[in-house]
Structure formats: structure tokens, C-alpha cells
């Protein structure tokens, strides 16, 4: 008998409005969907449809007006701001459209930063960062400052940083937005490998329909609503395998 699996992300009747002056502008108008473990989800939609707001809400950065966000059964907004911050650090890895760096830190220190946030011992954090940099062939750049690298390199580096805490979920907000086609494909390939080999759930937001082919699940959004959800394939991951990945302690090597 297989026990019932908890969805990795569960969105229930999610609504979010912003106020401009006294005028209420609804951005998310009631979303319901689930994401299972190991999926590669691509959220597609035109600019301004609420994709990024949805992403930030899942991350615990944007308090919803109504509805719930559950990460493996845990209600995100039942925690306070600092609680959400440490939850985010453990469960999510973020890749943004523009890489955001702490400019006074060099490449390896930036990659190790999320571990420092959780108070990991300095040597441990640095050796983990070194491993990841080696895997992504960044080892010779570790003493550089991130701003000295090219845009593509910086995006790859932010994947390194996203992976350092060994998160369940990689969140990517238009990660290829500033890259040329070749570099973009390269980055997408990395994300796909992470998804397929290391069993990370990937949630990616884009307006470029070209990336549909990487997805196992496609979510089309329009004007704050889900227009269509397409399950292209089902990731074949046993519940034992899922447990193994989920139970990995923060910062344990995976890649």
C-alpha cells in the first residue's frame, strides 16, 4: 500500500490585491493548483499577468490577501517574517533575472552566503561552496568579484548560490531574461539536469514559450487567473526517493 503523498507546493484559493492610493488592484484572482515532488514547472504568461507575484507569494515574501500557500503541508504564512526567512533559506533556492550580489564579497563568499546566514561554520561553508564551484567549473574564478564575470557566468553562479543550502525547490524568475540564446540554453540545460538527476523541484517563471519543452507541468496564466494547466509527463520518483531528498539536512552535498 502506498501512503498518500503530500504535494510539494499546494496553492489554495490564492488572492492578492495591491492598493494604489485607495484603489484596489487585484493581481491574483483566486488560484488553485498543486506541484508534486520532482516536477519541472514552467509558469507562462504575458507580462503583468501576476507570475512574479505568484512566485514571491510562494516564497513567503508577499503576504496574500486571501488563501493559503502550503509547502509540503506547512502553511507558509502562519510563520512570522523571520520564521519565513529561515524557512525560505532551507527549502528554496532563488535564481533571479538579474543576479543580485553582495558586492563586497567575492565569488566563493557570495555562493557560501546562504550557509553563513544559517550560522554554518566558516570552513564547512567554504568547502561546500568550493565543491559547487568545482562542479560548475567556476573554481578558477572563486577569488573574482561577481560583477567582473559575464552575464551568463553570473546567472550560472546564482544557480550555484541557490543550490548551496541543498533546497527542495529551485525558484527561477525569468532566469534567461538577460542572456543570449546559446547561454540561455546552457543555463536551462543545467536546471534540467538538476531536476532530472538530483530530483529537485524546479519552478520557473517565463514569458518565453520556447522553454515549454523542458517542463513536466505547464501553467498558463492570464490576467491573474490560471488559464490552463498541462501535465506533460509525470516524474517517476518513488516515495522512498522523495523522502531521502527531503530528509537531507541543510547544506548536505547533492549535486
Amino acid at each position: 500500500m502506498t501512503k498518500k503523498r503530500i504535494p510539494t507546493v499546494e496553492i489554495k484559493n490564492l488572492k492578492k490585491s495591491f492598493f494604489v492610493g485607495k484603489e484596489e488592484i487585484p493581481v491574483l484572482k483566486g488560484l488553485d493548483f498543486t506541484i508534486d515532488f520532482g516536477e519541472f514547472v514552467v509558469i507562462l504568461g504575458p507580462s503583468g499577468c501576476g507570475k512574479s507575484t505568484l512566485l514571491n507569494t510562494i516564497l513567503g515574501l508577499e503576504q496574500p490577501t486571501e488563501g493559503q500557500v502550503l509547502i509540503r503541508g506547512k502553511e507558509v504564512y502562519s510563520m512570522d517574517e523571520d520564521g519565513r526567512a529561515s524557512f525560505r533559506r532551507q527549502k528554496f533556492g532563488m535564481v533571479y533575472q538579474q543576479p543580485n550580489w553582495i558586492r563586497s564579497l567575492n565569488v566563493i563568499e557570495n555562493v557560501a552566503f546562504p550557509l553563513h546566514v544559517s550560522g554554518t561554520h566558516h570552513q564547512t561553508a567554504m568547502s561546500k561552496a568550493k565543491n559547487i564551484l568545482y562542479l560548475f567549473k567556476f573554481d578558477k574564478f572563486e577569488k573574482y568579484y561577481p560583477m567582473e564575470l559575464s552575464g551568463g557566468q553570473q546567472q550560472k553562479l546564482s544557480v550555484c548560490r541557490a543550490l548551496i543550502t541543498n533546497p527542495w525547490i529551485i525558484m527561477a524568475d525569468e532566469p534567461t531574461g538577460n542572456l543570449d540564446t546559446v547561454t540561455a540554453e546552457d543555463l536551462m540545460y543545467d536546471l534540467k539536469v538538476l531536476n532530472a538527476e538530483s530530483k529537485r523541484t524546479v519552478i520557473m517563471v517565463t514569458h518565453n514559450p520556447e522553454y515549454e519543452r523542458y517542463a513536466t507541468k505547464l501553467i498558463y496564466m492570464e490576467d491573474g487567473l490560471i488559464k490552463n494547466i498541462k501535465q506533460k509527463s509525470k516524474p517517476l520518483i518513488s516515495s522512498e526517493e522523495e523522502e531521502r531528498v527531503v530528509d537531507l539536512a541543510e547544506g548536505e552535498g547533492i549535486v
Binding site: 526567512a85 543580485n100 553582495i102 563586497s104 553563513h116 546566514v117 550560522g119
Partner: protein, 399 residues
């Protein structure tokens, strides 16, 4: 976040803007240095002047006399009463009378002091030739240089061993009884030594000689207390007996009070400098906050807590403040010592007593250091609070 990492991050942030950090820390250094330099000058000058007034033992002494009162008298009974007060170590009565001194025809007006050996041990007059009394009843006198000169003795060493005739006027209150008129007494005493002090002629006579002349009351007394702390209390008690009491401590208290005000004025100038440097530091921290808005956003989205963000900013403020403060204190001490050394050299070459006009007591250094930490917290509080409250999303959108 580990404390070490926070400090490291704050340090790296400051290192990135070397010039700005240098200028801000320089401002703090100047203000803290200024304050410590001026206060040290205040301390130094105060020490120089109080040192010249008295040694520590003199601070324990009270001078008692009858003042203008005709009712009370410093007699044996009064001496006994004062001696019995708690905290009084010893009472030394003394007598002073007007009179003239004559030596082989030359005559000079002067004052004759009746002093006991005990009192001389406290006063420590400078006997340059000869020696002090052998006992309280010895028929000897100590003559000061001024008197010797007026008596026409060119080489005052010659005076020692010779007989001096004293003609003393004993006032009625000294001899007691119903006498209303002064009594004159003329006696010869051997000169035992020469005193250095004094511009007007006087001699010291062992106290018991006055008793032999029929003196029953004293002109006054010196009261030695067991400790400096008791002086004020005992002073009040003796004043209640009807006597007039004064002490060197009063003078020193006044001098201290003056320098306390003086130091406050100097410190006031320093405070103005500190306020200016505070504004500079606040400015730097606020600008650094605005510049780092995006970084705060990324730190927060990577899971940094509000508390840690706050700590990073406070650490930056503390680093600037501490570096500035320590530099300022060090520079002010070096400058002060240079001044002291040059005054020392100058005094030695001109034959004066060298004095230290800059003194850096440990409490001054501690206060200056605490002040620089305080400045850091004060100026860092607002920017760090604001930084911790920045919304991660707004910060990430910030250009």
C-alpha cells in the same frame, strides 16, 4: 549568522569605500581626540595647582582659633574636648604673639610663634642652618632669614648658637584670669637654627616656654584628623563648640571646583566636535543604507533575518566609531606627551621645576572609549532599524 561573519561582512563593506570610511572615522577621531586632549589639559592644570598648595597630609589638618569671639578660648579643656572627638588623631595647640627681637643693640619687630615639636613634624619648616628644637621645653628659638637680615646679620649661619632677646606682648586672653591688660615679658633664648620661609621677621619658640611665662590659653590649634574623609564632619563639630575652623581642604575644594568648571567648558567644546562628527557618521551610514538597498533585498530573500541585517549595520557603525575613537585617543595621548616632554625640556633648560600639564587618567580613556561606542550606537540605530524594515521585494526592485 555567526558574530564573526557579521563583523567580517561589515568590515568588507567598509573596506569597499575606503575614502568614505577613512573620512568618517577621521571625523570621529578628531572629535574624540579633541575631547580627550582638552580634558587631559584640564586634569593636568588642576593637578599642577593643587600639588603646589598642599601635600596629602596637609589635607587632614584643620586650623582652629577663636575668631572674633571673646567668650571661647583655646585652653587645655578645649584641647581635651577636641581630642576626644571621633576621628581626631591629635591636637597641636600653638601661640602667636607680637614682640620685638633684639641682638646686640639692633632691634626688629616680629612675631613669636609658640610651636610644639609635633606641629613642626607636620609643617616641616625648612631649617637650612642648625637644627630644630631638641624638646618642647628647650630654651631655644628658630629664626627666619627675614629676621636675621633685619637684625643686620649678613651671614645668618653666624647667628646659630648666639642668644636672642625676645620682648613679647602677652594679650589678656592668653594669660587668662581677670587680667584686662597685656603683660610684657622679656627673655633670652639661644638660636638653634635658621628657617628659610617667610618675608616678614618671625621666630619659633618651643611651646612650653609660654607656659613658663604664665600663658594658660592658646591662640589656636592645629587638629590632625585620622583621614581626609573625616575633615568636613569634624570641622562642623568644632565649629559647634564656638571656634572658627579653616582648612587647606577648603582652598583645594575651591580650586577643584574651579577646575571642574574649567574642564566642563573644555569638554563642552569637545562635545560640539562630537556632535559634528555624529552628523557626519549618520550621513555616511544613511548613504550606505541607500546604496545597499538591493543588497539588503537579496540578503533577505536568501533568508537573512531582520535581526542579522540590523546587526550588520550596527557593526559597521561600531567599527567606524571604535577605529575613530581609538585613533583619536591615541593621537591625543601622543600629542599630550609631546607637549609634556617639551615643557620638561624647557623647564630643565631654564632651571624651573618641570610640570606635566597633560594627564590622561584611566577613567578619561575609558570614558572616551565608551563615548565612541555610544556615538556608534546612537548614529547606527536609525539606519540599521530602517535597513531591517526594508521590504525584500521593494529592495529587489530598487534601482
Amino acid at each position: 549568522m555567526k558574530f564573526r561573519f557579521i563583523i567580517k561582512l561589515a568590515f568588507k563593506n567598509l573596506k569597499r569605500y575606503k575614502l568614505r570610511t577613512f573620512l568618517t572615522a577621521g571625523g570621529v577621531a578628531i572629535s574624540i581626540g579633541f575631547i580627550s586632549f582638552l580634558t587631559a589639559l584640564g586634569y593636568g592644570l588642576q593637578k599642577v595647582s593643587t600639588d603646589q598648595i598642599a601635600n596629602m597630609e596637609a589635607l587632614q589638618i584643620l586650623d582652629v582659633d577663636t575668631g572674633k569671639s571673646k567668650i571661647v578660648a583655646v585652653n587645655e579643656e578645649a584641647v581635651r574636648n577636641i581630642s576626644n572627638l571621633f576621628g581626631v588623631e591629635k591636637v597641636y595647640p600653638m601661640v602667636s604673639v607680637a614682640g620685638d627681637l633684639s641682638l646686640q643693640g639692633s632691634k626688629v619687630d616680629g612675631i613669636v610663634y609658640g610651636k610644639s615639636q609635633g606641629i613642626l613634624e607636620i609643617e616641616k619648616p625648612n631649617v637650612i642652618v642648625g637644627k630644630s628644637f631638641t624638646s618642647d621645653s628647650a630654651e631655644e628659638v628658630l629664626v627666619n632669614i627675614a629676621a636675621a637680615k633685619k637684625l643686620g646679620v649678613a651671614n645668618y649661619a653666624d647667628l646659630v648658637g648666639r642668644d636672642l632677646t625676645l620682648n613679647m606682648v602677652l594679650r589678656p586672653e592668653l594669660i587668662g584670669g581677670d587680667q584686662k591688660v597685656s603683660k610684657r615679658e622679656t627673655r633670652k633664648y639661644r638660636v638653634a637654627g635658621i628657617l628659610e620661609e617667610g618675608n616678614s621677621p618671625y621666630v619659633y619658640l618651643p611651646l612650653n616656654n609660654f607656659k613658663a611665662l604664665g600663658v594658660t590659653s592658646y591662640s589656636g590649634a592645629k587638629v590632625k584628623t585620622t583621614s581626609r574623609e573625616n575633615v568636613d564632619k569634624i570641622k562642623v563639630l568644632i565649629e559647634h563648640m564656638g571656634f572658627k575652623v579653616s582648612s587647606i581642604k577648603d582652598t583645594i575644594d575651591q580650586v577643584n571646583q574651579f577646575f571642574g568648571v574649567f574642564r566642563m567648558v573644555l569638554t563642552g567644546f569637545g562635545v560640539i566636535a562630537v556632535i559634528v562628527s555624529c552628523i557626519g557618521m549618520f550621513n555616511t551610514l544613511t548613504i550606505s543604507l541607500i546604496e545597499k538597498t538591493r543588497e539588503i533585498g537579496i540578503m533577505k530573500s536568501l533568508g537573512t533575518t531582520k535581526k542579522d541585517i540590523k546587526r550588520i549595520f550596527i557593526s559597521e557603525a561600531l567599527l567606524i566609531g571604535m577605529v575613530g575613537g581609538v585613533t583619536g585617543i591615541a593621537v591625543s595621548m601622543i600629542l599630550g606627551e609631546i607637549f609634556n616632554a617639551s615643557i620638561y625640556a624647557l623647564a630643565n633648560s631654564t632651571g624651573n621645576t618641570p610640570v606635566k600639564i597633560f594627564i590622561f587618567p584611566p577613567e578619561l580613556l575609558i570614558v572616551a572609549l565608551v563615548l565612541s561606542v555610544l556615538i556608534s550606537f546612537l548614529t547606527g540605530a536609525y539606519p540599521s532599524r530602517r535597513a531591517s524594515r526594508i521590504s525584500a521585494l521593494n529592495a529587489l526592485r530598487y534601482e
